[in-house]
């Protein structure tokens, strides 16, 4: 069982009465010649690392290697504990976890690239927050990870997930699209709704540039992981409410790729444009000597 675009994925889901995660699991077994148990064990390890990286910095804040971030997750946690958060329980938890993962990443902790290290907070952020609030089992969360993986696979296959090629929209955009598709399946949505949610995210994050201060995976990356969770939630709720999208995922992915390739090189991970060249960022970074 394999598919090369979202249209084929939907056809497989429809004709076999399978969810996206079921198709993705079957594909993994067939194509990698692994057993269901083997891939489940691997996904368990993924979830374990995600959970550790999303929680460790809340208890033990760490300064990043480049010194630009550290302690943000704990601040959000304290703020939440004081019940001051305006955003919903899922969103406020999700952004806390997402920022924690980036803090872990930037201080040389162990993370799972999802799909990249710079965007590694969004998928675990949203899914772990939903597990907290709705008490989903680990098996359910792992299914959502397979569904999210299907979106990421299509992006890697048919477009790009590299900031250097397609800007932040390719990294954080795809990460949020993955999270949204997983979240929709987790809440009982249909495969079409998952793909609509993924399409919505790419649309709403279209054009986002990659402009890391000092060329490091720290700032604004960490902020954008938090906003990636918000974008995923917006799209998830829209899809589950029955809002359909005019532009299907395949077309939106292709559009994202085209926009990415037309971005000037200064705005694709080179630290030569955007946030990276603001006066304050340059003063904080000091790498140009």
């Amino acid at each position: 069982m394999d598919f090369s675009n979202a249209k084929e994925l939907l056809e497989l889901c429809d004709s076999n009465k399978m969810s996206i995660s079921e198709v993705m699991k079957q594909r993994e077994c067939d194509e990698s010649t692994s057993s269901k148990e083997e891939i489940k064990e691997k996904m368990k390890r993924v979830l374990q690392i995600m959970r550790d990286s999303a929680t460790m910095p809340i208890n033990t804040p760490m300064k990043s290697m480049g010194g630009l971030i550290g302690g943000e997750a704990k601040k959000l946690s304290d703020y939440r504990e004081a019940k001051k958060n305006i955003s919903s329980s899922v969103l406020s938890r999700g952004m806390m976890y997402a920022m924690a993962v980036l803090e872990c990443n930037a201080s040389m902790g162990l993370i799972v690239a999802a799909p990249t290290a710079g965007s590694s907070g969004v998928v675990p952020g949203l899914l772990l927050a939903m597990q907290d609030v709705y008490s989903f089992s680990d098996d359910k969360i792992m299914d959502a990870l397979f569904a999210a993986g299907a979106i990421g696979y299509l992006a890697m296959r048919n477009a790009t997930v590299a900031g250097a090629v397609g800007g932040c929209q390719a990294e954080m955009g795809v990460a949020s699209a993955m999270a949204a598709a997983g979240a929709v399946e987790l809440m009982g949505g249909t495969p079409r709704q998952s793909l609509d949610a993924a399409s919505t995210v790419l649309m709403n994050m279209l054009g986002l540039v990659c402009d890391p201060v000092g060329g490091l995976v720290e700032y604004p990356c960490q902020n954008r992981n938090a906003s990636g969770v918000a974008n995923a939630l917006v799209a998830t709720d829209m899809a589950l409410a029955g809002i359909t999208q005019l532009i299907p995922f395949d077309e939106m992915l292709d559009t994202m790729y085209r926009v990415g390739k037309r971005m000037p090189v200064e705005l694709r991970e080179t630290a030569l444009g955007g946030c990276a060249v603001t006066k304050s960022a340059c003063e904080a970074c000091g790498m140009c000597g």
């Binding site: 993705m24 993994e28 194509e31 990698s32 891939i39 691997k42 996904m43 390890r45 993924v46 690392i49 990043s64 290697m65 480049g66 872990c104 990443n105 930037a106 201080s107 040389m108 902790g109 162990l110 993370i111 799972v112 690239a113 999802a114 799909p115 990249t116 290290a117 710079g118 590694s120 998928v123 990870l145 397979f146 999210a148 993986g149 299907a150 990421g152 696979y153 890697m156 296959r157 997930v161 590299a162 250097a164 993955m178 000092g214 060329g215 490091l216 995976v217 720290e218 790498m287």
Partner: protein, 221 residues
């Protein structure tokens, strides 16, 4: 098109912060170490392009040294690799080179010397997402990803060496997926890289050393 696994999307499991500058760097040094016969005693990493500019903030230096000591991309010891290298008596040095620019932006030369004084320099490129390419051993241009089980041979450019090698692999029932030959010049030092689907047993190594022209056999898997 090569298979993209769900664990290529949700992965690699890695020590941060960057799949290209940290995980990829670790993999390059890990593979380079396999090209050196014995235990590394001395190493100099020459960093080019973006590696030269941002290696400290990305922990590229720690990851390289960790990879050289055999650590995987998800090994938490990478963070302490400077101390661990000191404990193991490995001399290390990082040299940024900003003059050479017509090169892949994430390139590193790993110049190693083992305890018996043998030295080799391996050049690697980090392609993103933890994927890498080894592009040079010594003065010879090669192309090797490390994604398959691989056999790297250093031998004299003589008739029969390849026939001998493939016969040994056949006897061990190993299927060759890819095979590439390189040589410094006619009749002199040559390299053969064979990538296979199956893992390569150690006994293959012993059998290959029986050939008088084969001077070094490295199994990378």
């Amino acid at each position: 098109m090569p298979f993209i696994s769900v664990f290529d999307v949700l992965g690699p499991n890695m020590i941060g912060p960057s799949s290209s500058h940290t995980a990829g760097a670790c993999v390059i040094a890990f593979l380079a170490r396999k090209m050196l016969g014995g235990k590394p005693k001395k190493v100099e990493f020459i960093l080019y392009g973006s590696f030269a500019k941002t290696y400290k903030g990305h922990g590229t230096d720690r990851a390289l040294l960790g990879g050289l000591m055999g650590f995987g991309t998800d090994d938490v010891r990478i963070r302490d690799s400077f101390n661990i290298a000191k404990e193991r008596g490995i001399e290390y040095k990082f040299t940024p080179n900003s003059e050479v620019t017509d090169i892949h932006p994430n390139t590193v030369d790993v110049c190693m010397e083992d305890e018996e004084g043998r030295s080799v320099t391996v050049r690697g490129e980090s392609l993103g997402g933890g994927k890498v390419r080894i592009v040079k051993i010594g003065e010879v241009d090669i192309d090797f990803s490390g994604e398959y089980s691989a056999l790297v041979l250093v031998h004299k450019d003589r008739p029969g060496v390849i026939a001998y090698t493939t016969k040994i692999l056949c006897e061990h029932n190993i299927n060759i997926a890819f095979m590439k030959l390189y040589r410094e010049s006619k009749g002199n030092r040559a390299y053969t890289i064979i990538e296979s689907d199956e893992s390569i047993p150690k006994t293959v190594k012993d059998d290959l050393y029986k050939n008088e022209y084969i001077s070094q056999v490295m199994i990378v898997q």
